[in-house]
Amino acid sequence: MNMQFNNRDPVYVQVVRHFKNQIAKGFLEPGQAIPSRRELANQIKINPNTAQRAYKEMEEEALIKTEKNQPSRVTSDEKVLQNLREELVGQAVNDFVTSVKSINVPLDDALNLVKRKYEKGDSND
């Protein structure tokens, strides 16, 4: 696992964001075991208390499940996964709209550009 952190967002928020992306992209599959808190802290070089906080947050959002003496696992709950995808798409659209609006691109032009780009499939991702 490789993560780049910025210094101005809480690290736990960045960790949660990273996991959300991994899950939405299918790199982490439903039911898949994830590292323990300490393993994660060690792998990505963050404070173990911060790793703990990130896992707690993900448990509260039902993204992961932890049963006694078992590794934490990615949820298999289809509804949670669907909500997650919607959340991430919503965020991406928000970011897009904000930056397009700020340079005064008319909506139709922007949509056409999106369509062309999407069909060509040559985004950088």
Binding site: N7, R8, P10, Y12, R38, N42, I46, T50
Partner: protein, 228 residues
């Protein structure tokens, strides 16, 4: 918990610390930050009773006494071990001297730092000297660890390796107070910052909280103080 209350220290007529108070919890890494000469090392020396001071210091609610030092280890920024010793001999020495010495943990640390037992203290590079210092301190089964400038004057790869210690079981659940001005190396590893300026505490804050509530990095806060 280590509680420092209203610590005052003068060197001659010069006031170095002018009423410094803060706490450092077990299971947390507390970082004392400040420019050179701000009194960071003096604070650690005061906790260890290596220097006289005014004020009060409590460890787990009790005044520092002789047996308090079974709970605390102080890792200085320069070697205090006998130079002609090999690392092995240094470990034997620690074993004879300290009841809290944990050879298993020392062996883990040797491996972690890639150090050779038969190497002489006097022939170690700066980076490896810092690692041996850490090894000798961290191998003690104590609740609190004080580290004075563990990153000072060593190469980036040694610094990385030392920073990695903080995420392992070698620190686990212990209380750490660390002084540094190389905050970049450990920005994501520390729980709390005590920022010193002109003998007093400018700000004491949780690193995650300041990012969350003010969108600031530790360096941002430092810049406010030192650049005005």
């Amino acid at each position: 918990m280590i509680e420092v209350k209203d610590l005052v220290k003068n060197y001659g007529r010069k006031k170095v610390l002018d009423g410094v108070s803060f706490t450092a919890d077990k299971g947390e890494i507390t970082c004392l930050i400040g420019v050179n000469g701000v009194g960071k090392t003096t604070i650690l020396n005061s906790i260890m009773k290596l220097t006289p001071f005014k004020g009060e210091i409590l460890v787990d609610g009790e005044k520092v006494r002789k047996n308090t030092f079974e709970k605390i280890t102080f890792i200085p920024d320069s070697t205090t071990m006998i130079p002609s010793f090999t690392i092995d001999e240094a470990m034997d020495f620690m074993n004879d001297y300290y009841e809290a010495w944990n050879q298993g943990r020392a062996d883990d640390l040797l491996k972690f730092f890639n150090l050779k037992r038969e190497e002489k203290i006097s022939s170690l590079s700066k980076g490896n000297t810092a690692k041996v210092n850490l090894l000798l301190g961290l191998a003690l089964d104590v609740d609190y660890i004080l580290m004075d400038e563990p990153f000072s004057g060593i190469d980036i790869f040694s610094r990385e390796q030392i920073a990695e210690v903080f995420t392992t079981h070698l620190i686990e659940d212990r209380g750490v107070i660390i002084t540094t001005h190389e905050i970049h190396d450990i920005e994501h590893l520390i729980d709390k910052v005590v920022l010193l300026d002109e003998g007093t505490i400018y700000k004491e804050f949780s690193t995650e909280e300041i990012r969350e509530t003010e969108g600031k990095s530790v360096v941002d806060v430092m810049r406010e103080v030192y650049r005005g």
